[in-house]
């Protein structure tokens, strides 16, 4: 029972190789000039041109800053709105509690494209067209529904005696939330942060409609127009794609566990 079937291993490794190969070519070709891409497309070929990365980076450095800002604002908004609401549902009983919870969760059933146009009008009317905030808040609102659901379950699982002890000490509601509940909830905070951060960084459609020009253009839009000179050619484009993927990849390898749980939980949102 302890030894794998050799055919299983062979087959799974072959599948892995086929699945990974496009990414490998992306990486290899991002170090090439155009002629090398034509002549030896399958593998790394010398000389390597790391300068492609410099050329690409100069074109998307500003958009990367925008994306970082949009993602930071969006994650912060998601966390604040989700954690406060989840705390309310987990700790209090109050009239219309179930109805209000239902209202928040119902958002999971509304497909994004159905409200694309009216949402655009609303955001524009609020003066947020072509701003960082306008890009960040709508996706943050989308992930708040999931965030409330996940955090409520987590908060309800915290020991009741904690709340009682805090109450005895005369702690106010807000300090129970900020000093006791939040510090004990780091795993779920990380999960929700990663789930929303990943989606906001990768969000294409909404940024496409709510921004124009270069003022607040995010990197996900900027990579569509990255270009190299005649010699460098597509290598620069591909280097740009790699750069745009790097921040999330680094984060993934730094925090694989919360990442995986963020990805899995996010799936439940249709």
């Amino acid at each position: 029972m302890k030894k794998s079937n050799p055919w299983t291993v062979v087959f799974v490794l072959a599948l892995f190789a086929v699945a990974m190969y496009p990414f490998f070519v992306l990486l290899a070709s991002s170090f090439k000039h155009q002629m090398q891409i034509y002549e030896s497309p399958w593998f790394f070929s010398s000389p390597l041109y790391p300068s492609n990365y410099g050329v690409a980076f100069r074109q998307i450095s500003q958009p990367i800053v925008h994306s970082l800002a949009v993602t930071a604002i969006g994650v912060a908004a998601t966390l604040i709105a989700s954690a406060t609401a989840a705390f309310s549902f987990a700790r209090y009983s109050f009239p219309f509690k179930n109805a209000l919870y239902g209202v928040i969760i119902m958002l999971l059933m509304i497909p994004g494209f159905v409200i694309l146009v009216p949402q655009f009008i609303s955001v524009k009317n609020m003066g947020m067209y072509n701003t960082l905030l306008g890009q960040a808040l709508p996706p943050a609102a989308s992930y708040t529904a999931m965030g409330v659901m996940l955090m409520r379950a987590f908060f309800e699982g915290l020991s009741r005696s904690l709340y009682e002890a805090a109450e005895m000490e005369g702690a106010r509601d807000f300090s129970v939330f900020a000093r006791i509940v939040l510090p004990l909830s780091k795993p779920i905070v990380a999960t929700v942060a990663i789930m929303s951060g990943l989606q906001i960084w990768n969000n294409f459609v909404w940024s496409l409609v709510v921004t124009t020009g270069d003022k607040v253009k995010p990197v996900i839009l900027a990579i569509m127009t990255v270009q190299g000179g005649i010699n460098e050619g597509d290598g620069v484009k591909l280097a740009g794609y790699v750069i745009a993927s790097l921040p999330l990849l680094i984060l993934f390898f730094a925090a694989t566990k919360p990442f995986v749980s963020g990805l899995t939980q996010g799936a439940v949102k249709g």
Partner: protein, 309 residues
């Protein structure tokens, strides 16, 4: 529920008094409710209203009743767009129910913990790469005579199959679905694998004591216990792929002609290229109705098949 919480709910007192007593609870709800109602629910409600107007988003705004819907019925692009959405989501659902499931079953059978871990992380990494990067990468691989895919056909002696994959209306939609081949490294893989790892070790021991073959073990133990994940993947991929936008937008922009147009692309195009916000809203309403019906039908179907088991 937290019974300690009942402290804030006195048995006596009118509704308003109870609400006043629980005012802190409402205060905590305020950020989420404000965010959702301003950015999601208000637009959602106005979507229906806007679909009854001839509206360019700026100055023209005229009530026209159901004229948008009447036009929609005659719009050739709508017919093709929904047909494409059905095709793409049928293909995506079938793909997501097989390829990643197979990969997860295989990875789960790898006995060496180190190799299994490497494979696990390896199959998850592509999920972290932005969807748009994957799409642009494949667009580049399809492109022209020197694109990687045509070069590969050359290399194995199949020059005759070389093709302008995205430029030919008979292959463009297929080429879009083909993005990400062999489709194993994605969210479904992660969900299936997580499900497999939750199955109790005892069940596998019983199966092996009874001399179950690997195939039998899959049919009798693994697949039934994954039914929750399979259901989730089914509904999730249907809703996601029916709204497919990025790939046709970046790879073909709906072309050649209108052969790869989708409902989402049509909404985008009508609103943001033609300034027809009212008409675009009416397409959104139809999309909502179709997705709702599909989801309910699918859930009914799943429930019925459960009864047969």
């Amino acid at each position: 529920m937290n019974d300690y919480a009942h402290r804030t709910l006195p048995r006596r007192g009118g509704l308003l008094r109870r609400m006043w007593k629980a005012r802190n609870a409402y205060l905590f709800l305020l950020p989420a409710l404000l965010l959702l109602s301003a950015i999601k629910y208000y637009p959602f409600l106005t979507a229906f209203v806007e679909s009854l107007f001839d509206w360019n988003g700026v100055n023209v705004n005229r009530f026209i009743g159901f004229a948008n819907y009447a036009e929609l019925l005659k719009d050739e692009k709508i017919r093709v767009a929904f047909e494409n959405a059905f095709k793409v989501s049928l293909a995506t659902v079938l793909i997501n129910l097989t390829a990643p499931l197979l990969a997860a079953l295989l990875v789960f059978r790898v006995r060496s913990p180190r190799l299994q871990n490497v494979l696990k992380v390896g199959f998850i990494v592509p999920l972290v790469v932005p969807m748009m990067v994957l799409i642009l990468l494949w667009r580049w691989m399809y492109a022209g005579d020197t694109g990687l895919i045509n070069q590969a056909l050359d290399a194995v002696g199949l020059e005759s199959l070389k093709h302008s994959w995205l430029g030919d209306s008979s292959t463009a939609l297929g080429a879009i679905v083909f993005v990400g081949f062999p489709w194993v490294a994605g969210l479904p893989f992660l969900l299936y694998l997580a499900g497999l790892q939750n199955i109790s070790e005892d069940l596998f021991e019983v199966a092996s004591m009874e001399g179950a073959t690997p195939l039998r073990r899959m049919i009798a133990v693994e697949l039934p216990l994954l039914s929750g994940q399979i259901r989730l993947v089914l509904i999730y991929s249907l809703i996601q792929s029916f709204q497919v936008f990025e790939a046709p937008y970046a790879m073909t922009n709906g072309g050649p002609g209108i052969s790869t147009i989708t409902p989402s692309l049509h909404i985008y195009d009508q609103a943001f290229n033609y300034g027809r916000f009212g008409y675009a809203s009416s397409i959104g309403v139809v999309l909502f109705a179709v997705l709702l019906v599909l989801t309910i039908a699918l859930q009914k179907l799943i429930r019925n098949s459960d009864k047969i088991d």
